[in-house]
Symmetry: C2
């Protein structure tokens, strides 16, 4: 094995390590900030759950408040979710959501549901969701009733995420992503196209 | 006002009082048992939230364990939700769900989502949901991929409930139930009919 190859592999695995550490922190932070009130969440608890040091969290995300803001930010997820031409958006959304769960064990927006019934800091998730998901979808959709259709599109995406999470070894878990899209995307597309 | 009329009104308002007291207890119990671990929930806390006495809870529902079992039981809700011929079930489901939220401030099954990420007693909600919603729907649906379609139907219903809860003063909140059904029910119906 040449020095060059070894060097490249080390660099790759370092990148992968950084990414998977970051992902593990984000997953643990999402769990912590949605399941418990803000005041009860500690970086140390998130670090333990993620299997990293608290200082690595600070290095990647800054303070507890900054990490909470990252959790409440639906921008990066919706950028991916909405990144297709309108006429193909339904299918793209379903495939992106299914793959995000399978490849990264995360859902682009299901965490907002856990803010329901809580009037504490978690209401920030609902506010961001309204701005970054519903309002953005509303401006994106052509035709009549676009605000209503945007809410229903958001509903279909939340519902798909919820049912995949609730049936981790069920029929959808066994099905390929394209098969799920065949069944689920046409309805989304009709709501999108109007 | 005759004695007869007064008597009837008193009886009616007593019935209404009983029903609304029972509903308030159930709503408070659903909140308590889904948002907090079982061990942290008290009948006294639920009573305070519902504006009733703890002894009224015992009278209506029995012990804390029995009340938790009532919360985890999706049977009565799905009986209503599934009470239509297959060819009209999609629309019936949407109308039932929207009306349940509007008239009784409750969702037939959204509470199961709050059990996600919790491995404590709340996993009972997921088990019951699998038996009483997904498995029941699977046997109900004709045609191919019925288990997958059942999961997706459950997803669409959970998603509709979630988006209505997340947008309490949004476009869906302003829309009439029939208008929501016009947009949302055809997709459900296609998943049902296969």
């Amino acid at each position: 094995m040449s020095v060059h190859t070894t060097g490249r592999q080390t660099e790759e695995s370092r990148d992968t390590g950084t990414r998977s550490g970051r992902d593990a922190i984000l997953r643990a932070a999402r769990r912590a900030f949605t399941l418990r009130p803000y005041a009860e969440v500690t970086l140390r608890g998130i670090a333990t759950d993620a299997g990293v040091s608290a200082s690595l969290i600070v290095k990647h995300f800054g303070s507890k408040e900054q990490l909470f803001n990252t959790v409440a930010d639906f921008g990066p997820d919706t950028d991916e979710l909405f990144a297709a031409p309108l006429e193909a958006l339904g299918r793209h959304m379903v495939l992106t959501l299914v793959r995000s769960r399978r490849e990264f064990q995360r859902d682009p927006m299901l965490r907002v549901v856990f803010s329901l019934g809580n009037t504490d800091e978690r209401s920030l998730l609902r506010d961001r969701f309204h701005e970054q998901v519903t309002a953005r979808l509303t401006t994106l959709l052509p035709g009549q009733d676009n605000a209503l259709r945007a809410e229903l599109v958001a509903g279909q995406l939340l519902g798909l995420g919820a049912t995949l999470a609730l049936h981790p070894s069920g029929a959808a878990a066994q099905a390929d992503a394209e098969g799920i899209a065949d069944l689920y995307a046409p309805a989304l597309q009709r709501l999108i196209t109007g």
